[in-house]
Amino acid sequence: MELLYFAQLRETIGHGAETLSLPENIADVAGLIAHLREKGDAYRAAFDDKALIRVAVNQTHVSFDHPLTDRDEVAFFPPMTGG
C-alpha cells in the first residue's frame, strides 16, 4: 500500500511518502497506526496524539475503524487549516 504524510506528520516522520506491504493481521486504520508506531521514535511521536490525526483512504476522509486492503492509498495528516 501507499502511505502519504502531510504537514507536521510529514516533518516529524521525515518523509512524505512510502510503500508498505500491509501485514495480514492488520484489518483497519487503527491497526495500521499501531503497526507504524512500532517503526521507531519518529513514527511514535508523529502518531502520539490520535485526536490530532486525520486519515484519508483513497482520498476520502474515513474514521479509524475503516477497513484496509494492500491496494489502498492511505494519507495521514493533522486537522486541515486551509481557506
Binding site: 510529514r10 484519508a56 494519507a75 495528516f77 493533522p78 486537522p79 486541515m80 487549516t81 486551509g82 481557506g83
Partner: protein, 150 residues
C-alpha cells in the same frame, strides 16, 4: 463549476467575468477572498507556506461545491485555492457564487468557506519572529460547519 488549486495569484474581476461569460440572467454575485494576515494572536507573521494534498484537494473542493449546488439555486461557482509560499496581504482563496437571488449567493459562499476550512486538505505554516509553526485548527471552524446541519 470551476475548481482550481494553483500557486499563481488570481484576479477577482477576471474570474467573475469568466464565470458570467455573456449571461444576463444573473442577479447576484457574492465573492469571498481570504488573505494572509500579518498577525496571528500576538505573533507577527512574516511569511506563510500552504501545503496541500494534490488530487484530494481538488476532489474535496468539488464535493463541497456540489453540495452547495444541491442546496441553493446557483448559476455558477468558482473556487480557487492557492498553495506554496505566500506573504502578508497575499490572496489565499477565492469563492464566487452566482444566483438570481442574493440570499442564495450569500449563503452558498459562506457554506463553501465553512466546509473548505475543515474538509479540504490544506495546511498553513507561518513564519513568525518566534520561528516557523504549523497553524492549529480552530474549534470555532468546526462549530461553523455544524450550523449548516441544523
Amino acid at each position: 463549476m470551476k475548481v482550481r488549486v494553483q500557486s499563481q495569484d488570481f484576479d477577482i474581476t477576471a474570474e467573475i467575468n469568466d464565470l458570467r461569460s455573456g449571461r444576463t440572467d444573473i442577479g447576484a454575485i457574492v465573492t469571498f477572498t481570504g488573505l494572509v494576515r500579518d498577525f496571528h494572536g500576538d505573533h507577527i507573521v512574516r511569511k506563510m507556506t500552504l501545503e496541500h494534498f494534490p488530487g484530494m484537494a481538488e476532489k474535496q473542493l468539488r464535493e463541497i461545491c456540489q453540495t452547495a449546488e444541491g442546496r441553493w439555486p446557483l448559476q455558477g461557482i468558482t473556487v480557487i485555492h492557492r498553495h506554496g509560499p505566500l506573504k502578508p496581504g497575499d490572496q489565499i482563496v477565492l469563492v464566487i457564487a452566482l444566483s438570481a437571488h442574493r440570499e442564495a449567493a450569500f449563503e452558498a459562499a459562506e457554506f463553501i468557506m465553512d466546509w473548505l476550512k475543515t474538509d479540504a486538505p490544506f495546511w498553513k505554516k507561518e513564519e513568525t519572529e518566534q520561528g516557523a509553526e504549523w497553524v492549529a485548527a480552530k474549534e470555532s471552524d468546526s462549530q461553523k460547519c455544524k450550523k449548516w446541519q441544523e
